[in-house]
């Protein structure tokens, strides 16, 4: 069992997500940076489905009430076990009674803590992920707080065998170097003027303090919509359309852009002008408040190639650890 001494700024239990519930308005939730979540699990020999702790900006402090092996992946986060530094992207031993203390991320926004056996919480609709807006999944449907107790699962992985596992640096992401995220333009980009459609992918967008698991609210120049007569069933704002489903990563424009993330509403009446591709949503989730990002328009085929490349990196990491 793991006892939470300090929940940090925003720490939740997450896995790969909750699928097949869009029709009831239930978003997938799950790790915001799935790549790093998968790396954390690979380091300790877990399957990718095992639940990790997603720690945002400032990590949690935890006391381990049993022997365990853990790994940190994603944003660089200084951490110590009973005063000894814990390296990133390496499986390390924690003995019963020891405390893991973490500090604030030095690059990126989100760090994943995996433990051999995974974080064991009840599944809700097939997932251990926390969806805080309605308070389901994870640990009591909320961010972790002082005094919480988390069970560690059993998966038969030999803890001694994975200690010292290190991910090859060349396959990891450099969050300092993210300047742009790739998008597929559409579905409602026809609502933008030609000039604004071009500007969308030519200007810097600044991440505001209101960027979280639900959406990344961005700041930048005004974009203009084509004049039109309000269609029956759409709202009065120029950016309103008759309701559409919102893909994860889709960019809506109620004046300023919001990129919908993993805890977002699943549909509504705003025009979605582009969608951040799945591999780059992992990167966007590591961009901090006040940093800027550009959108780089790609085709669906290029998006699929990017996904294959990311999968190849994950496979190489898993292979290196065998």
């Amino acid at each position: 069992m793991i006892r939470v001494l300090d929940g940090g700024i925003s720490t939740t239990v997450q896995d790969l997500g909750r699928f097949g519930q869009y029709h009831i308005g239930m978003p997938p939730s799950g790790a915001m940076d799935l790549f790093s979540h998968r790396v954390a699990n690979a380091l300790v020999g877990n399957s990718p489905e095992a639940a990790t702790l997603e720690m945002t900006y400032g990590g949690a402090d935890l006391r381990f009430e049993e022997d365990a092996v853990v790994a940190l992946a994603g944003a660089d986060m200084p951490a110590r076990i009973d005063g000894d530094d814990v390296p990133m992207h390496e499986a390390v031993r924690v003995e019963r009674g020891q405390e893991l203390e973490t500090e604030f991320t030095t690059t990126g926004a989100r760090t994943y803590l995996a433990v051999v056996g995974g974080i064991d919480v009840p599944e809700v609709m097939g997932s251990k992920s926390t969806y805080t807006l309605v308070g389901i999944g994870g640990h009591e449907g909320r961010t972790l707080a002082d005094g919480d107790e988390l069970a560690i699962g059993e998966n038969g992985v030999d803890r001694e065998a994975v200690i010292g596992n290190r991910a090859p640096e060349s396959r990891l992401r450099d969050f300092e170097a993210i300047d742009d995220v790739r998008v597929v333009v559409g579905l409602c980009d026809y609502r933008l003027t030609d000039e604004s459609r071009e500007r969308l992918c030519e200007v810097d967008w600044k991440v505001t303090p209101e960027a979280d698991r639900v959406g990344y609210r961005l700041e930048g120049p005004e974009l203009d919509f084509v004049e039109r007569e309000q269609p029956f069933g759409a709202g009065t704002d120029p950016s309103n359309v008759v309701d559409v489903g919102y893909p994860i990563g889709s960019i809506q424009l109620p004046q300023q852009p919001i990129v919908l993330m993993r805890d977002a509403v699943t549909g509504g009446g705003y025009a979605t002008v582009a969608t951040v591709i799945s591999t780059d949503r992992d990167l966007l989730a590591q961009i901090r408040t006040h940093e800027t990002v550009r959108f780089d328009a790609v085709t669906v085929d290029e998006a699929l190639e990017a996904r294959e490349a990311a999968q190849a990196d994950l496979d190489a990491i898993r292979d290196a650890l065998e």
Binding site: I9, S10, Y57, P209, R288
Partner: protein
């Protein structure tokens, strides 16, 4: 006498008051005790306490109310009696 700085634990928006109608949490000249709430940072639709890192006297507030701040930025200068 030594000078210490209270730094931002996270990026966000700096607030000197818990509520727009309240007085600032600290003013220059105030004595503070380690752990005292001296400011707030708003990020991800939540407010987080910024606490004094040491016992001391506030000798400068380096950031304007509602300014955007970065993680690690120096916010408040404290002078410590050694």
């Amino acid at each position: 006498m030594t000078t210490e700085y209270v730094t931002a634990p996270m990026p966000g928006v700096f607030y000197r008051r818990p509520d727009p109608d309240d007085p600032p949490l600290v003013e220059v000249g105030d004595d503070v005790t380690e752990g005292d709430k001296v400011a707030l940072i708003g990020v991800m639709k939540n407010f987080h306490d910024v606490t004094a890192s040491h016992d001391g006297t506030v000798t400068d507030v380096l950031v304007d109310n509602e300014a955007e701040i970065e993680a690690g930025q120096e916010l408040i200068e404290l002078t410590i009696d050694d």
